[in-house]
Symmetry: D2
Subunit: 382 residues, 4 copies
Amino acid sequence: MPRTLRLAMIGGGEGAFIGAIHRAAAALDGHWRLVAGAFSSDPDRNRRSGEALEIAPERRYSSLEALLAAEAALPAAERVDAVAIVTPNHLHAPMAIAALDAGFHVFCEKPMALDLNEARSIAEAQARSGRQFALAFTYSGYPLVEEARVRVARGDFGKIRLVQVEYSQGWLSRPIDREGNKQAEWRTDPARAGLGGCLGDIGTHAFHLAEHVSGLQVRDLCADLTTHVPGRRLDDDVSVLLRLEGGARGTLKASQVAAGDENGLKLRIHGELGGLEWSQMEPNSLVLRWLDRPTEIVRAAGPGLAEATLSLLRTPSGHPEGYIEAFANLYRAFAMRISDSAGTDLDSAFPSVDAGLRTMAFVESVIANSASDKKWTTLAPA
Amino acid sequence: MPRTLRLAMIGGGEGAFIGAIHRAAAALDGHWRLVAGAFSSDPDRNRRSGEALEIAPERRYSSLEALLAAEAALPAAERVDAVAIVTPNHLHAPMAIAALDAGFHVFCEKPMALDLNEARSIAEAQARSGRQFALAFTYSGYPLVEEARVRVARGDFGKIRLVQVEYSQGWLSRPIDREGNKQAEWRTDPARAGLGGCLGDIGTHAFHLAEHVSGLQVRDLCADLTTHVPGRRLDDDVSVLLRLEGGARGTLKASQVAAGDENGLKLRIHGELGGLEWSQMEPNSLVLRWLDRPTEIVRAAGPGLAEATLSLLRTPSGHPEGYIEAFANLYRAFAMRISDSAGTDLDSAFPSVDAGLRTMAFVESVIANSASDKKWTTLAPA
Amino acid sequence: MPRTLRLAMIGGGEGAFIGAIHRAAAALDGHWRLVAGAFSSDPDRNRRSGEALEIAPERRYSSLEALLAAEAALPAAERVDAVAIVTPNHLHAPMAIAALDAGFHVFCEKPMALDLNEARSIAEAQARSGRQFALAFTYSGYPLVEEARVRVARGDFGKIRLVQVEYSQGWLSRPIDREGNKQAEWRTDPARAGLGGCLGDIGTHAFHLAEHVSGLQVRDLCADLTTHVPGRRLDDDVSVLLRLEGGARGTLKASQVAAGDENGLKLRIHGELGGLEWSQMEPNSLVLRWLDRPTEIVRAAGPGLAEATLSLLRTPSGHPEGYIEAFANLYRAFAMRISDSAGTDLDSAFPSVDAGLRTMAFVESVIANSASDKKWTTLAPA
Amino acid sequence: MPRTLRLAMIGGGEGAFIGAIHRAAAALDGHWRLVAGAFSSDPDRNRRSGEALEIAPERRYSSLEALLAAEAALPAAERVDAVAIVTPNHLHAPMAIAALDAGFHVFCEKPMALDLNEARSIAEAQARSGRQFALAFTYSGYPLVEEARVRVARGDFGKIRLVQVEYSQGWLSRPIDREGNKQAEWRTDPARAGLGGCLGDIGTHAFHLAEHVSGLQVRDLCADLTTHVPGRRLDDDVSVLLRLEGGARGTLKASQVAAGDENGLKLRIHGELGGLEWSQMEPNSLVLRWLDRPTEIVRAAGPGLAEATLSLLRTPSGHPEGYIEAFANLYRAFAMRISDSAGTDLDSAFPSVDAGLRTMAFVESVIANSASDKKWTTLAPA
């Protein structure tokens, strides 16, 4: 277990959803202590947020620049180790690059950037800085997602033929982006959200999960992007046909206008011998179906799990772990990697620049294909 | 309740699966009595099947032609009322046309025919004969499918935006079509199955269910047909993007190589206000999700059902009805229509020629699109 | 497959629920043809029911006595083989005895009789007549109940420790028995229903299922019978602690005032090595949980089933079979036993007199115990 | 939001399960910081645990006595606010009393004590100290348990008739208590676990949940305690019939030999108008069934929740919260109560002495009844 590391947060002031989740996830296992932050560009809001979080007054910064400068000047034993970036998407790239270049590790919200070019700049900054970069593709932190990944990789299902992923939400069914909902507002604003709406916000999660668990890269895709709510400036619904390496076929469906749906991320993969199904809303079960024997339900902390899965669990079987715990698994892996001197194999323990580059390439390819009459668009291999 | 009608069956001899289902479905409510048949082109098998079914020897016919000739010569009070055609697909059209033209009502297995042209010929025969024609899109016979249809039609969900249908089987994961499995053999033989493999066998079910419940016709589609099992002559996996009338978007996924999956037909429809989900493997529940109130589970014979749904139920709530009961609902509606003098509005009570024409047009469009580099293929409105 | 047998029905006229179920179950597989009946003591209702069922006028009888006399006088090749008794409980014993003594096989609704003495009289009549007697403990006809029974019997779970059965309905939550609901009326009338209300109606089902699947007899019980709805004359809620042979412990809970519940019959059995769970409302799955390996879901017509289970299935996996099919399995076994010359081992294929005697002894023991301050009442072994 | 409070922990050193859970739960929302502890009576283990948890060396105490003395001597601004007691059961009472008497708030593991007398001593110490006492009946911290409680209390279901609670585990199916499993060892040792085995360990959870949500106290009970595993010194299986105030009837079933079961705590309550069902293993759904309208699924953070429920949630709907989050709700309520000057209404926000007294009275009554031939034992009202 590493010593407790020190974290700074950019964004995530009063009322922000994801900042609070990052803080809980970072706190859960005791590997991180939040000691500094620039929580809001509004000075009053920044102050109130800092007070509520019991941040020392001198470490409540007015901006990322101020934070980086002041923290870099502190002795190593006091300086923050990493910066968590939980701002709207358009700030991810400049902030991540600045923080990496200032010598700090970075834990960044997804999507990585506004476009692939920006993502590449982050990747370059990561490489030249030698610092760690973690990307909040939270769902890969669930223990049974890891179990699924391990089982596919070791060939339990034989050659993979089908990959089906869907991410179904309904919260943007009404035009709340024009009725004062802040979360909806920036997520549907191209200047702040980037090229994709639903595509960037949750389509990237679905894409990442599919490639991460299947171990297969998407080669070609054919997409239909739609905006159902009149006046909305970005897509709110995504349908994609996938052709993956090795001949597997796939579908990716993401929607934020599936009225009544909550956070329905679901992955199914089938090979020659059987298939798996995992659903984020019941994350502690992994369903395995077989050609020649009864269906199995592998359960968190139950019998039959891989070593890698067990390391991601905190409670005995039947005591559900949830979203914050999955998130905490990323923060824990991030802490362990930082505490460890070695720095290779970035994507195995937590999503990093490779995941970011793949997902941004996916976003650009979907947008290009959707605007075209041509059926298939090739996604360059990573 | 009509008098009991007399049924003849073509095909469905010893060992055939679907013939036995037709017989059980026809018998369940007492509206039909099987009194004649040509169960097999093999004389011994035909005789043994007829004996087992207690068909009088003189009404065990050697062929459809013999059956039609002999039955037509019987007095009306003895003559069969309808012919059930449960042969491989390539015989549907010639047999249905012959039976209609001989003055018999026809209950035909799906798909309607080998191609759209054949289907049109059946439709013409139906029209000129004035006889009833029922098509075994069984899943529309489930009570909660009717409930779903009624609720969409009366606007419970507002304008429909999303239609997602999938039909996932795994029984063709191995090359059993080349290992002596009769069912697999003819279903993957273009001469007997028609243009589509998985597409014709179960993709048509999925398509019919989607249009039937949504009340919306597919306008354009973009498809990816695949054959995963080496040496197989027809597709075993289908992925389709759909654009429906009124702007709704959809996906259709059908596979017979989803190893371990049984008979996973599932439909989801979302409108502006909420959505529904129905799954064939748990057919007695209909899940309704809403933007602004808790999820509801509408149950067979439970509170809140439409009149039309209640008429399709036989048991009190909590006593599950299944596939044979759904099938029997088609046979009952078919009997009632025949007993009734009126003959319009064919598709509302049981799938008929319109359903057949739509599904055959779908099959042809998918095949054309899948072979093309062009993204969208328009499906002519019915 | 036997020749089609001829069935007569007593009771089950217009509007009766269970008569229609018996008819559907008997018809489903083609082993029975309903050719005679005394459907109602009301002559008009009897006539209308007989017409609707297309019973020949001369075989629409005014009473059981008339039926038995006339049918016995017919040539063997025309005479009915069996009589289905679907009247209220107080008529079961006299009618079953009369039918058996007249030389007919009997399929009787449950509970077997008003009390244990009556049940013994039926058992004696069955023994002296040499005729078959089937009792409608329908739930033992479900394929996966048979699978559960086989697996317990062959020791999959080791020595059995726990048996938990529950049967939860809500339809008697309001005093509908005093508001004109016919079903509720006679079921809560001691003169027609017998000693137990909920206890006799569904408690007996639960008890039979528990002993049938566990293969263990209840030795001692401790019960709490309650009537929740004011003015009701029989119990509407039953709770029982069970001690079974071999040291297993159990609970039995039955209620008809669990408002909102449908027909929640559920059985759980645990042994040293694992346990099973079966739920009537999702009857095509059997859940197996294990100490040392993942949970398994055994599915109707899926891999891993016992031979005995396969013989009870009609459709491929994923095509749900329901309550009528389970009922039809009893009628099929009844037909096969009758067609077969051998006559032993009555309870293995369908519930018979032993099941009836056990359940009536259970009813009497529960009532005696519930009225007593003594904790345990011994149930005499069969 | 209160300032961060300071926590000390007694027990919970390396390898202990529940100590780690307390730490995660206390850390999650940032209301508690662990600054002191006596983690083990073994000095090396205590030191290693303290180091791993980054406790300052001078605050790693060798015993509770040392901790209380030293912390009491610190200035108020440094002194710990509360002590978490996570030792085996026999130490709960002496330690809780000592800590309360020394002026510290106490968060104690359940069961409260070895017997009712001890529990009363804690209650007296709590009263005379004026300090807060929280008891880890964790399951009452789940948001949808609160929703259930609110809905029962406001009369959604009418008068309550049925309360059914069960807690099913299988981890003690084998004699692991004699094979070196530390958790199993002390939990089956009367000297350390108290009067009840399964009864004290999980039966108390079930009892607390039932009374907490129903708002009804158990008046009389009838119990059957069993030890299935040979040589075990305490019960491993509990069955109880309950009679609650107002005429409601109930059952309580707890087992630790339900082989294959994980942590199956489930509560069902029915009133005149409908019923609820909550299951700990899928804690983010509350199922509501109704006499006269469709079943509803109320979801965490979904529409229709009470204010009190919303205050217990951290993530948007569809992002599962689990066991640690429920536990954290207790720690948060505990912190808020301490930070607040008022001190009444102890049991509403977190389980306190009343819950402890009720559950210990339950344990004693079950043991007394189980050993008796008399059917009912009265549980004195609180």
